[in-house]
Each structure stands twice: as C-alpha cells, then as structure tokens.
Symmetry: none
Amino acid sequence: MKAAILSVGTELLFGQITNTNTVYLSQQLNMLGYDVMYHYTVGDNAKRMAEMIRLAFSDCDLVLTTGGLGPTQDDMTKEIACQVMGDELVLMDDVLAGLLQYFDNLGEEMTENNKKQAVMPSRAKVFDNETGSAPGFALEKDGKFIVCMPGPPGEMKPMFQNHVRPFLQEMSREVIYYRMVRVFGIGESRLETELLELIDGQSDPTLATYAKEGECALRIASKRRTLAEAEKAVDEMLKKVMALVGEYVYSCDDEELVEVVCRKLMEKKLTISCAESCTGGKFAAALTDIPGISACFQRGFVTYSNEAKIEQLGVSPETLERYGAVSEEIAREMAEGLARVSGSDLCVSVTGIAGPAGATEIKPVGLIYVGLWYQGRTQCRKIQTGDDDRSWNRQYAMLSMLDLVNRNI
Amino acid sequence: MKAAILSVGTELLFGQITNTNTVYLSQQLNMLGYDVMYHYTVGDNAKRMAEMIRLAFSDCDLVLTTGGLGPTQDDMTKEIACQVMGDELVLMDDVLAGLLQYFDNLGEEMTENNKKQAVMPSRAKVFDNETGSAPGFALEKDGKFIVCMPGPPGEMKPMFQNHVRPFLQEMSREVIYYRMVRVFGIGESRLETELLELIDGQSDPTLATYAKEGECALRIASKRRTLAEAEKAVDEMLKKVMALVGEYVYSCDDEELVEVVCRKLMEKKLTISCAESCTGGKFAAALTDIPGISACFQRGFVTYSNEAKIEQLGVSPETLERYGAVSEEIAREMAEGLARVSGSDLCVSVTGIAGPAGATEIKPVGLIYVGLWYQGRTQCRKIQTGDDDRSWNRQYAMLSMLDLVNRNI
C-alpha cells in the first residue's frame, strides 16, 4: 500500500525545527510494508492542507498527518480531515471525560478552548494520547485512510507505537526487509559500475547506492508476502554483492566505521593510542564519542608542531629534515614512537596536508600518510585525495586511520 | 516571493537520513525575504517529481530542489527540470572540462557515466560545485525559477553560499538585513525572558532566539526598502540587546566560538596547547579545523587514562588518589603540567564525566572541570550540565574551554 506523510506547522517552514517525525514515521511505515511515496510540509493554512491531502490520495491509500490537533485557533487538522473525507465533527463524551481526567491528574482546571479537543469526526476511530491532551484518530472513505496524530514527538511516538502501529499492521499486506551495506575506499560511481550487472533490470531485491561523507552505502531491499521470503532474497543478493565488492565492505548492518572498530576493540580487549597531525584530534574525538571505549583507548597526541613530534613521540629531527613532516617515514616514526610511549596494542598515526595552504611543489594538498604499529610491525598507507577541502581531507584521513585499524584486527 | 523546497531521494522516504537540507534552506530563504510555503519529498521517480514541481509553481515563484544530479541512472532532476521548464539538455564543454579536471586532481580516470554531469539544460545558469562533481543550475520560464542543487549537504551548502544565495538575493525585491548574535552561558528560555521587553510587540526589527548545541543564537532582522534603512534599524536594536545580555555575547556576526577564539589567537600571536580527558580530542579537533591555526596550536594531549595523565602531564598520583580524576585539583595540575611540557602561552585542560556511565555517589554525570594556565596563573571553572547525554556533555565541555580562553585573551 502507498502512503504519504503530511507535516503541519509553520515552524517547520521557517527552519526553526528539524522534522524528525517524518524520519521516524518513514522508518516505521517502511517496516510495516508500506511504500512511502511523499513527504509534504505545509503551514497552518486550511486551503493548502486540504489540497495536499487530496493530492496525496490521488495515488496513495494512506495519509498520515502530524500537527494541528491542539486547542488553539490555528489547529485545524480535524476540520480539514472532515472536509476531505466527508464527515462532520461531533462532541464525544468519552473523549471529553478522558480530557477532564487528564487535567485533573495535572491538578489543573481545564480551560474552555481545550473542549475543542473532545470534538472528533463522527466516524473516527479515536486513539488515546497517553502523554498529552490531544487525541489522534483514523478516518476512512472509499477504502482510503487518513490517520491524524499530534505534532510533538513525545506525544506522537507513543501514540504511534501503542495505537496506530497495530491499526496499520492489520491493514498491510506486504513486508519489506532491507540491509544497509557500508563501504569505504571506493567512490559511488565506481561502486555502481562494479555492481552494474546486479543493478540493471533488477526489480526485487532492489539495490541503491548512496554517497556519504568520504564513504558510500548500498541498500539491498526486498518486498515479499512474508518476512522469511524477503530475508532470503536480500541475503542471497548480499552474497553476490560481497563476491564483487566485499573487500570494501565494513558493515552489512549500517554501522558507522568507528562503531565497527570500537566494537571489535572492546570484544578483543585491545588497547589503542593515536598520534595525529593533520586530523588534529578528530580520530581521538571520534573514538571517545563511543560509550565504553575508555577500556581500550589509552592516550592521544596531537603533535601539530615539529617540536611536539620530536619531544612527545621521539621522532628524529634528521628524518624531519630529510623527508619533511608529511612523509611515510614520519608516519612510521610517529607510530613507533607512540608504541614506546603508550605501550598500547595498536598505535595509529597520521600526517598530511589538509589544506587549503601547506602544499609544496612535490607535495599537494590532500597528500596523507597513515601509519599503524601492531604486533611489533609497522605498516603505512599513502593517500592522495585530490581535494582542496580541509574538512573533507581531515574526514577522509580519519576514516583511513579507522579503515587501517579495522583491516588489522 | 513565495518558494517551495523539493527534496529528491528515496533514502529520505525510507527514513534513512534526516532531511537537514530543508532546515538549512528554509532558514536561508526566510532570511533572504522569501516565504517558504511547502516542503516536498519525492523518490527517484520522474512522473512524481514533475508533478510536484508543477504543483509548486501553481502558487510559488521559486522551486529549490536538492538531489538527483549525480551520474547514475536514477539521477533525473535535470531531465525533469527541462521537461517542466521547456528546455533541452546539451553537453556543455566548459562543464566537461571542469569535470575532467576534478577527476584528474583526484588521480582517477573519469568513468563514462560521469559525463552525464556535464550535460545541462541549454538555458541554464550553471553553478560550480567546489566540493563535488555534480554542478547545479538555475532555469527560468515565464518569470518563475527552478534552482537545482546536489543532495549531499557538504556539496549543497557551499554551492548555496557561493552561488545560489547571491543569485536569489538579486531577485528578491525587498532588502532583509540581519545580524546573528551568538551567546554562550545562558539558555534559550532565559535569553528570551531577559529580552522580553524588546521581543514583545516588535514588528520590525524582529528578534528570534534559536537553540544551538550547547549555546544560543539571536537573530535581529529588518526588512526595508533600502539596505541602509535596514542596517540602521538592526544596529539600534543590537545596542539595546547588548545592554541587556552583552556579557554572554561572543559574536555579533554569526561566528562560531571556535572561530572567534582562533581569530584572536592568530591576531595576538598567542600559542596554545590542550590536555583533554572527557572531550577526548574534540577541543583540538575543533581548533585544528580552522585554516592557519598551525601558527598558534602547538600540541594536544588526550589523557584518557590515569597513567597518561601522570606520564604525559606530570599529574601527581597522590592528587588523583585523594580527589579523583574528575576534580578541580586535577584540572589545575593538568593545565600546569601542560604548561611545563608545551611551553605554550595558553594551556587549557578539561576533566569530567561525560556519561552515560562513570557517575559516583558524589559526582554526577555532567560534572566537568575546565582549567586554564595563562601568564603564570591558573584558573578553574566547575560546570554541572545536569544532563545524561554523552554527546551533549562533551560538546558543552568543549565550548566551556573555548569560552574560558575567549574571556582571557
């Protein structure tokens, strides 16, 4: 079944708040097997709201709305739903009793305008609001449904979980299952080229590639009558994908690279330290963003100046003089010096030219060396991003450090 | 002028990513004096995309789209724009040359499907993409405009700032002038309360408060017939604002706190080093994200373990034993030890409990101590965020370090 999500609220159009309701409802509807075809946002305007709902019903069976159910004058979702679905508003005694109870529990007197919240479309199936005062409802006409919920996420989500989800589950006829495969070290267009034989002419499972910052993702999705069938189809396709681009895959379950690395470090009880130049602390900051990593992460050095490299890590002034700070030799000495100072199992280092300044005749912006000392052996990786953007180069350098660690543990 | 924002991408309809582009563009368009009437999201589907654009033009003068400009088969925004605006696609030699250069810089061969990105509507005004391969464009028909930009925020935002904003500014008929005042150390609701006499009943200039991560912003905006009139109105209001909350203001020009601090460090030629525990490298990473800071930033330590604090910074084991790692005494010893090791002009330290674990009976999650050694004197600041959220606590700790440095230089 096809669905649309309509968000009502002028504050969204001003960009004052991020529309997290739509993300949540999209995920939930997809899991229930609905195809989400549209997101719409309109202000508190009766005419535009009605137009949007009519438009959505031109090819959807279900419209979910959030917002505009409150007690104030600019809350008009119920009126519009009646208008579009051919119903009229009536005062519902049991809803009014619930409202009086709600305010009584709060120890407050109910103001007159709150009575409006007990008025519902006469054919509505009412959904209780356990965390607020505005109830939601579903309304049907000619086999099409509108489901209206309040706007605040703290009211909408419990209402969806407790009432709307079971209601929609009963109406749905199909199940979607998908896996999000995360890759590093291959661009989106090359990824698509490598997978062309699988993508072309494929109707189910479907494959779609996504570019993320410095990395890519691949979504494999199947829609079948049962979850078991959909899972089987996705997992068979995943095998084919792995045969073609498996060397770049770091997660088949939509984990971030830093999450994968931290999970493995914690599982294997390995300790890690880092010495960063061009990333300036980004690697340490990313790792320490993961709760529980203090069992593994021991210390980090941001050795931005040559003096810091020499004094903290014992990098040789001669090597600096001879090869320059951005060189394989320095990445190696940083990792090995770090091993002596920290005693950690894994010692990862990075040096590079993030830009926009700092390039020389033979060393361009985007030249990065990553080093890893592990089990008494040091390895280095040279990267040329070809990009002048400082943030991008720093991000890519950090991901390369994570990738190098990930491939070794 | 009325505007609509159309986001293209199946991943949005799946709820896999949050639509931050729309928030950003709504803010920007509102600031430019446009009325944003609608947000739409559709998948990679030609028919629905065309329908949405036509619908938007039924009462808007401008449609902004993001997404669907890439090299792959499901990228079809350009085709649809041509269809709706009555134009045709042509290969643009200068765009192709730019693309070839882009891939050459990357050290990669351009795959055949990338050529598609050099094909543009014949009447398009092309916008360069400085951070990616897909250019954007504007296309006009009968006084209505469509502006198409790439989907990844890292490409869309620079393109908007550098090319689209000036383009839209020229089309707008009224002048909006605004200043974004940035504050730290006061919450949004208290900020609004302090400014209530200025906000209430004010029609021009308008004052609006925004909560950001760990800090707040205040937008003072005026819409007039001339820039000079608008500037005068805003600057008069700014004086009133400064009289009420000036002590919390760190920028009147929408600078980030880290930008303010780095600018001052560079102007005053001061050197700085840092020793971080709970922020785990975030402070160093934030500073080193600013180009040119290598003249000031010397070294950073992420002393996560007690051993690291003792060995790298000379923190006393007795102090650790007696007061615990999260204490004013340790923040002080970290800053002072850092001064000995680094010899920097400013030495800033932090220790705290970011959570979710790590709290004790007397030390709650969100307890943070920040230290600063400067001109032979050490000062400390105690913070209790009262929040359990790890990311929030780390962010707030980092901002507090920046704020302490900012107030001293």
